[in-house]
Amino acid sequence: MQKYSVFSLIKNAFKGHKDWEVAWKDPTPKAEYDVIIIGGGGHGLATAYYLAKEHNIRNVAIVEKGWIGGGNVGRNTTILRSNYMHDENGMFYEKGMDLWKSMSQDLNFNVMYSPRGIINLAHSDAQMNAYARRGNSMKLNGIDAVLLGREEVKKLVPVLDFSENVRFPIFGALMQPSGGTARHDAVAWGYARQADSMGVDIIQHCEVNGFDVVNGKIKGIKTSRGNIKAKKIGLCVAGSTSILADMLNITLPIETHLLQACVSEPIKPILDHVVTFGAGHFYCSQSDKGEMVMGGDLDGYNSYAQRGNLPTLQHVLTEGIAMLPFLSKLKMLRTWGGIMDMSMDGSPIIDKTHIGGLYLNCGWCYGGFKATPVSGWTFAHTIAQDRVHELNSGFSLNRFNTGHLIDEKGLGTKTWIS
């Protein structure tokens, strides 16, 4: 594989950029693979990469209905963080933060990793207490957390609405300085390019229509490009999980809901951090192009539409303007939606299933992007070793049966309000 560097860039510039190799091939599916990963999103690509890199399993195919970068990996708001209270989540996402740090070097692809800090605003004394508790839990797990007072927040983010006479005054914030953003397309492309170079077949425009299960063991899949056999199959299809599970006669503790995001017209640098509103669902950061990147609530009812509804967007942006009044002067450049696999306790599932050779990776709610590397890393381990890794042992499918839920927000099973 061609190495990307400043020298290769200069060399190719002199040749008119005609000699660049394709980043990944467009293979015809083989009759059989050791492992098939369904879903060529961030998690699927990362899984294939770590299967090849960490476990030396290279006879792997990624089967993708659309195209690389077209699903949620290209639709999120690019936020990285591990500011969780529960041990299972904290340890898992913190491993992810380690992988993010070295990702550009590992993948030889600039993912524009930017640990600019994430600031969760608090708007009451009770919320400050809750954030102090969460911050302390994070620190016990070795995660960086700083509780900020109102004046400290004002120094860091002066553009927030600090007037006295507002419905939700800013009392302070919980900050994770190592949180931040990364360029999501680059993550998908970087993993795809490395996985391809290690022998993984990335098969795009190939939709799965059925499964071949014999005596409780998975044997292969039926796709729009023919039947493909495999010893092991991993599902990494986010919002489409319930559709594939239905083909396998499995009912899961997840529902598919729609989440919107949007960007404003580009402006000069004004917001240095990722900031979240504490009295509702709104978060905002500024991209390197200068756009304000914003997101918030789910649309609020089961949806596979991949496009949003305006009442929700209006509601989210009302919160945005309450937090950052200058947003009201900006024009909206783009809005879009992605479909989320909302689990019943708000935490993901990475586990084996009752079908031999079938592995499940789902339930990411709307926190999937930051988990991309660690989800792939632990899922690859689960598939390769046929057992869960310590880091994902809490994300079991049967926790809903045994009562070992990881309900970070304490919201229960109302997926559409979480």
Binding site: I254, N302, N309, N401
Partner: protein
């Protein structure tokens, strides 16, 4: 904006309603020994179909009645609505 026909009030816009989830889920019978598996199914497991979905909505800023709605989860087309205690 969805337009939902409340069986009590007529056609109203979506923001008068709040969502109540899958309307086909049945609570296990009262005063009966219920195995854990049945509770698990009732509390957590959902079909979450792509296509027709029967769901509950609460006309919270209107007549405050719960209603059933049959809606397509991919196109948002609403086929039928009924009172919550009626079969749709």
């Amino acid at each position: 904006m969805l337009h939902i026909k409340c069986p009590h009030c007529g056609l109203r816009s979506q923001n008068e309603f709040s969502y109540g989830g899958d309307g086909t889920v049945k609570r296990p019978e009262l005063n009966k020994e219920v195995p854990d598996k049945e509770w698990d199914t009732f509390v957590y497991l959902r079909k979450s179909p792509r296509g027709k979905h029967i769901e509950l909505w609460h006309h919270i800023s209107g007549c405050r009645q719960w209603i059933k709605v049959e809606r397509d989860t991919a196109t948002h087309e609403i086929f039928k609505t009924s009172k919550a205690n009626e079969d749709i």
